[in-house]
Symmetry: C2
Subunit: 490 residues, 2 copies
Amino acid sequence: GAASRGAARGTGGRDMARGSSTQTSHRLLAYSDALLSIIATVMILPVAHTKIHPDQKLGESVQQLLLAKIAVYLMTFLIVTVAWAAHVRLFQVIELIDDVLALLNLVSLVKISHFSLMASFPDVPFGIFLFSVCAVIIGLIQALIVAYGFYHPHLLNQQIQVSENQNFYKRHILKIILRGPILCFLAAIFSFFFIPLSYVLLGLVIVFPHLSRFITWCKTKIVGERDEEEHGSLETFTFYLSEPLSKERVEAFSDGVYAIVATLLILDICEDNVPDPGEVREKFHDSLLEALSEYGPNYLAYFGSFVTIGLLWFVHHSLFLYLTKATRLMGLLNILSLAFIGGLPLAYQLTSEFAERSHNEIEAIQVSCVITFFASIFQFAIWTTALLHERETLHPFARYGGKEHAFMFAKLALYPCVSLGAFFLTCLLSEFSTAIFHLMQIVIPFAFLALRIFVRIALAILKSVMSFSRRKVVLLEEEEACLSSGETLS
Amino acid sequence: GAASRGAARGTGGRDMARGSSTQTSHRLLAYSDALLSIIATVMILPVAHTKIHPDQKLGESVQQLLLAKIAVYLMTFLIVTVAWAAHVRLFQVIELIDDVLALLNLVSLVKISHFSLMASFPDVPFGIFLFSVCAVIIGLIQALIVAYGFYHPHLLNQQIQVSENQNFYKRHILKIILRGPILCFLAAIFSFFFIPLSYVLLGLVIVFPHLSRFITWCKTKIVGERDEEEHGSLETFTFYLSEPLSKERVEAFSDGVYAIVATLLILDICEDNVPDPGEVREKFHDSLLEALSEYGPNYLAYFGSFVTIGLLWFVHHSLFLYLTKATRLMGLLNILSLAFIGGLPLAYQLTSEFAERSHNEIEAIQVSCVITFFASIFQFAIWTTALLHERETLHPFARYGGKEHAFMFAKLALYPCVSLGAFFLTCLLSEFSTAIFHLMQIVIPFAFLALRIFVRIALAILKSVMSFSRRKVVLLEEEEACLSSGETLS
């Protein structure tokens, strides 16, 4: 990944030196990734900012409202990731950009940013219509970018440039990019007649790529050889297009989500939890210290959530450092993990608003634990998936039995274990649930610092136990050897 | 820049292959840049969200409040950039990271995020005290990172690793990093006695690096040779540390600011300008179309601001593509440009809140024009600075007289000219100020698309004029030659 990108950049440098107006797309793609991840994650805000009175029980109506909003969030998040995936495929084919492409890309980003507006009316036919039309327009802009790229072949990927089947590539990439918008077009039509069908179609946009892949996988498993041949003849054309996701862009998109979640926390604390100068004067007799200590629990919740995001990013960073490439299944798991990461502002709102002063304390803490658990367990799942094909996807020292394997395992297992533990502990000791949760958030960073030492001690113990048992084996063997030599002697 | 980073990554890859637990810092630094730029830019929110009643004249008290808030924004923005600059220097010395450094870095980021809290009480002694103490703690954490790095020399930059003067380097980098915090420590002490002095000290933190550089520059100009020698003996030690800013990190920081400003726009439109389902039912008789058209002008303002940010990013991107390295002066100009970019959410608030329905229409539009003008004129200044040392800082084809020079000039000059034009036009035609402003925002993208054509036409005309005059010269010369040959003949 890094090496090939380096090489690509190298050629870009040479192009620049030739004085052409084309450019490598590196920084443009990084910026697009940042904006796309922001647009996807911002959708959590209507959920997080649902106003619930602290004294009000989480009644059925409020729960249904929250669930409906969460469903809309997940759907929009996943549809934006589909647009992002199309963007990734697109710029695997088009490697150099010129000004027109840069401007077209900006237009498509502006259009994608409209998603967040359109998703506000999930139960009105016209709202769904607007949402779907928005997706169709994005698809058309991306198709326009493809058309422009193939009209100026020097912008294309080297392999496609020299290939004789450019038209095949063009049709193939257009098929991938327009698959989603066509479904959205149907959803737009049906939105006025039968809303559930529209939702089914929009859901299909999300699962279609994975579904089609799963079906081909099943087919090859069941039918076997015959299909393999057919696949083989196609492969010669599409080996590049069916390449796994670009690891670098997966990282950039993830970084964007982590950064924007941290931002949402900063914004929340800046907007709601800073005492007003007037308030300080009247309520706290001009003593800022008193005013700030009033907000203390909120700052603690903020600090805890910020640290949680930071550490989950740290785990993600360590994990992707050990990967050599990202397969499509890993990409899917990563996006699911990110969807839950995007839920962390909700967790922060719940713990800071409800905790310690409402009837919904346990529910709030438990929802936070569940969000943290799923965000981290999907990271663990990425690691497990990588281990299944460790020769292709992992650096040697991270593979099973490698030097860093045990340590990586401990790093990834820490958050799922602790959040699960906190969840069940709050069930048992429901009165101390807030205390348990905050204790967990504060202890974990130290656990990370000491993790290497723990793992080393555990490994040392394991080793000494194993070497002890081995010495036993050796002793036994020697005895046997003595005996056998004695036998041969006798 | 890119090449050396590629090389650094290459060695990182080798380190990884050796199975050590150290890592290259690339992704960590990108993430830090994103967070630091977010923290710096978020400080605009208290300014943008100042509540002013639409019918209220911008009286002196409101103006003073706004000015005070803008001053606080600028100061905090610049102090965060000082922390960022220290961060850049720090990780030029420490090139590889391990888990402890990654965690320490996260702690320093959490601490820097507290700045946004601390800046909310600019007129209370305790508020300034907290702000300064925050800066001191950040400095101490960065010093801890340096100490850790020099304690584990394999993490250091190759050149420093092999050098015999490691201790000198250590003291030098500590001096650079702790300079700011020491001034902040003094500011913290004086905050309880004499607030203006605290502010002078905090201001000194911002200008000190540039001031000291300017003074040495003046000294060498005035005193000349004698100082040069002394400087020379130091240079052998510090040639690496006094290297200009890393271009890649300047780009990453800038991208972060542009992305977060776009985000703030998205957040604003999502929070304030989406009609409530209840409101739609009651006020607009369940007609979403009617409700949305009510908010039409807001969407236009949003669209215009988003496009402005996108295009300013596009200009920045083109500019940095043509640079080969970033000097410190260019870094300073870039940060000033970014500070005004950070003001764009204020411009959006002004144009969407006030425009077309208040007494402050012209003021709002003019402030927006001024912000856009300064953001773009500082970009132009970067280009001018680069041209002064074009052999060192520019790619050959972008230099004066190069193929792309005229085009780049037009690109950079477009926004300053148009915003200045709009400003004076609103003075003349004050009744149509909003219309002029929105027209400007919508026309500019098309101007960018047609820019290359315009420039080509202009160059073609220029060329034909010049070739015509040259032909005249040639003709004259030929005549002269004929005459002189005639003379020699005769």
